[in-house]
Every structure is written in C-alpha cells, then in structure tokens.
Amino acid sequence: MTDVLIVVALLLVAGAATAAVLNRDPVRQALVLSFLGLALALLFTFLQAPDVALSQLAVGSAVTPLMILLTVRKVRRRPGDSTDKGRER
C-alpha cells in the first residue's frame, strides 16, 4: 500500500513539473510551482522523510512562488511608471 501512495505521489510530481515547464506566463507558473511544492512534500512524507517535507513545504509552496510574484510585479511596473497599479489583468 505504501508503494501505491509513492507511485501516485511520483506521478503527481511528474505531472506538475511538466505543467510548470509548459506554462509560459510566470504568474501561472507560480501557481503550478506551489502545487509542485505540495506534491513533493507529500512524496517526501510517504518516503518517511517528514523533516525534508517540512522544509520543502515552507520553501516550495510559499517562498518560491512569492518571490516569483514579487519579481514579476517589479519587472512589469518598471517600463510604464505612469500607471501606479501594476495589475496583471
């Protein structure tokens, strides 16, 4: 039964990583990346490594997408400084 859990989590990781590569918009990539972080945390837990899962959860599902979003906002705001709201859509 543990093997089934590991296989499903592995498939989720592979699917999420492929989707993150195939998406071109950075904002959408950030959402897929947070899913990838969650899937990796699940996989690490099923592989009996909850300490790695904890750090992966903090880094992968929260910090990395937040940094991407902050960077995207900073980059998009620079060329047209007249628009004070750098809203994506």
């Binding site: 859990l5 989720l12 959402l31 837990t45 909850p50 994506e88």
Partner: protein, 151 residues
C-alpha cells in the same frame, strides 16, 4: 515497520482527488487556478493525516499542521497579487464534509490526549482556512469573513 493498510487506503482518496486538481491548476482561467491551488492544500492536508496514522508515526502530523497554516496564507497572498479572491462552493463543501469525515475517525483511533487535541486543532485550522479563502469577495477582510455563512 508495521504499516496499517486501511489508513493508507484512506490517504489514497484525497491523493487521487489531487489529479483533476492538477489538471485545473495547469490548464484553466486564473480564477480557476487560484481555486485549484486552494483546494490542493486542503486535499494535501487530508492526505497527510491518515498517512501519519497508517505509518504509525504520529509525529508526521506536524507536516499537516504546517500545511494547514501555510496553505490558506499562500492563497491569500496569491489573491493579493492577482487582485481577485474567487469564492468556491467546492472548497467549502470539501472542507466541511471531508475534514470531519477524516479527522473524527482519527481522533477515535488516537484516543484522548495530546494527539487528539492536535488533530482537532489541525481540523479546525483546515476548515477555518477553507471557509475564509473559499468565501470569495475581495471586498475586504470583514466581508470575506462574513461571507462564509452565505451560500
């Protein structure tokens, strides 16, 4: 290590439910992706709780505790950047039906004590986070908190 297959089979259910969520998070409108991200953290927490019981390691519950705090926080951060917090009846229903269905049997299995208090805390955090982030709005924090009781 002795693994309890019944609890692991329970953990497989939310894990398989993550597959269509992955489809929506990779292909969909931005609002759908935000809802899918919200739902994925909820389902992840629901998969981790029975897995901890199935592996016979109650300490694994800590991962679910961290996830129940970080998941809704991440959703609110995305809502802040995208400028929209879509309401989702699916997230609220999954939380209100799925969390008691998984947490209460785990509490019975754990018996009274610190482990049961921790499980109840995680369940309450998962429900509260899903109700707040699934309420929708974006009209301010109070409106989002009040919108939880309206269908």
């Amino acid at each position: 290590m002795r693994a309890d297959d019944g609890w692991l089979a329970v953990a497989l259910v939310p894990l398989l439910a993550l597959v269509p969520v992955l489809w929506r998070v990779s292909r969909g409108a931005p609002e759908d992706r935000l809802i899918a991200q919200n739902l994925s953290s909820l389902l992840g927490g629901l998969a981790l709780l029975p897995a901890a019981q199935g592996f016979g390691r109650p300490a694994y519950v800590d991962v679910a505790l961290v996830l129940s705090v970080l998941g809704p926080t991440g959703t609110l951060i995305y809502a802040r950047f995208l400028g929209v917090l879509p309401g989702s009846r699916l997230v609220r229903r999954t939380a209100l039906l799925g969390v008691p269905a998984i947490v209460l049997p785990l509490c019975v299995a754990a018996g009274p004590g610190r482990a049961m208090a921790k499980l109840l805390l995680i369940g309450a955090l998962l429900i509260a986070g899903s109700v707040v982030t699934g309420a929708g709005g974006g009209r301010g924090r109070k409106a989002a908190a009040d919108g939880g009781r309206t269908a």
